[in-house]
């Protein structure tokens, strides 16, 4: 994967005429991870949504380097938020294969990825039967069926058990080694937080 770099300076986000966060500055490049910390309402999700260009930027700059100019912005990026983007009436495997097709990934990877996510026994079940943790695993499995360098994760480990959280850590670790980069909002201490390529950003929210 080509080296990608993101530089953020003085970023301020305004939603509904209220400043959500102000003056956030950081930079991140391939192989690095950023953990966004902060109390509820500090603007972690809003920051991720700004980075994914769902939200407009009130002031500051957001510069991506090394992105493929042939691709549309967003095509080299995965965003996994609170909503699972999973259709309850489709089966687990159908849901995953759908996202693999949409994101230009590999539908033939679906069985392997489901095995890694420990959802292989539920592959043919309707997704409405899944528990909250299983839904989260399925949503995260989307990252693996279509490899992309930039991951934006909002609370990736919420609703997951210890084994699931370990799976996410492993997944992020491997992604960083392959030259991807991750920006994740989380309350939990990811085990890789001790690893040198991890930076932590504290968001305090608007004053």
């Amino acid at each position: 994967m080509p080296v990608r770099q993101l530089e953020v300076t003085g970023l301020t986000c305004v939603r509904a005429e209220r400043e959500v966060f102000s003056d956030v500055t950081f930079s991140v490049k391939s192989g690095e991870a950023i953990l966004l910390r902060g109390p509820n309402g500090a603007g972690k999700t809003s920051l991720l949504m700004c980075l994914a260009s769902y939200l407009p930027i009130a002031s500051g700059t957001l510069t991506w380097n090394g992105r493929d100019p042939e691709q549309r912005p967003g095509e080299d990026m995965h965003y996994v938020g609170h909503q699972s983007a999973i259709k309850p009436s489709l089966s687990v495997a159908e849901n995953l294969a759908f996202w693999a097709n949409i994101n230009g990934g590999h539908p033939d990877l679906v069985p392997d990825v489901l095995l890694a996510a420990r959802l292989d026994h539920a592959a043919n079940l309707e997704a409405m039967l899944l528990s909250a943790g299983q839904l989260r695993r399925l949503a995260l499995a989307r990252l693996l069926v279509s490899p992309r360098p930039i991951w934006l994760l909002d609370e990736p480990t919420s609703a997951l058990d210890a084994q699931g959280a370990a799976w996410v850590e492993q997944m992020i670790d491997k992604h960083l080694q392959n030259g991807g980069f991750v920006i994740a909002a989380t309350h939990l201490d990811l085990a890789l937080q001790n690893s040198p390529q991890i930076k932590t950003i504290m968001l305090r929210g608007a004053k």
Binding site: A52, Y54, L55, P56, R72, G74, E75, M77, H78, Y79, G81, H82, Q83, S84, A85, I86, K87, S89, L90, E94, F98, W99, N101, I102, N103, G104, P107, R142, R148
Partner: protein, 221 residues
């Protein structure tokens, strides 16, 4: 499978699995054709004269009924956000969704039209013209409806506002749709109406994905 066909087949599959919704839609369409003869009274010639209008009103109202499910579910489960990262643009995705929506909400109505034809005492020529005008005109209803649904997708009670928005846009479709069935004005009036109907459908189906995708992008801010 390409992303375009993935959207198309997923949406059709989702409709097929919620068979109750589809049945409600068809029953609603047929019901209008069933109650109007009772309301008008046993006047066969009057009924036959009103038939084109009744069919089009039934098709229009039924298409409104199906409108809300076009984008709302995708909005609520976060699929719309995830579509921003697809290998195809949101406009293309919307186009695929429009085709799927027409196949799963307008085509069943056209298939159910024979029931209405019997209830409304249509003769064979009028029946075939009705089918023809529905095939030509319903894509425009779907297209305008999609724009309305996209604009109101972030509103909780958008299901009631969308029809008000698209009503004025749908008036030409109803006018030409009915005159494509019952042309009394001139020798080639029905052909002219059919051409107008096809024209409106093609133009609206081409432009609606852009308008709807723009509305969907703005709705997320």
């Amino acid at each position: 499978m390409s992303a375009f066909f993935a959207i198309l087949t997923r949406d059709i599959k989702l409709t097929a699995r919620s068979f109750g919704d589809l049945l409600t839609l068809i029953l609603f369409f047929v019901m209008i054709g069933v109650i109007v003869p009772f309301a008008i009274g046993p006047d066969k010639t009057l009924l036959a004269r009103l038939a084109p209008g009744i069919v089009w009103i039934a098709a229009f109202l039924s298409s409104l009924l199906a409108l809300d499910r076009l984008f709302r579910a995708d909005m609520e489960d976060g699929s719309l956000l995830a579509f921003r990262h697809a290998t195809i643009s949101l406009e293309t995705i919307t186009f695929a969704k429009l085709i799927a929506h027409w196949l799963s909400s307008a085509l069943p109505l056209i298939v159910a039209t024979p029931v209405l034809a019997v209830m409304l005492n249509m003769d064979m020529t009028v029946f075939w013209r009705t089918i023809y005008s529905l095939i030509l005109g319903t894509p425009a209803l779907t297209a305008f409806g999609a724009v309305g649904a996209a604009i109101t997708v972030s509103l909780r009670r958008g299901g009631l506002i969308a029809p008000v928005l698209i009503l004025p846009l749908s008036v030409p479709i109803l006018i030409f749709g009915v005159s494509a069935i019952s042309a009394n004005a001139g020798p080639n009036a029905e052909t002219a109406a059919q051409l107008f109907l096809a024209g409106i459908s093609i133009v609206s189906f081409v432009f609606a994905p852009f308008a709807a995708a723009l509305a969907l992008k703005l709705s997320q801010e």
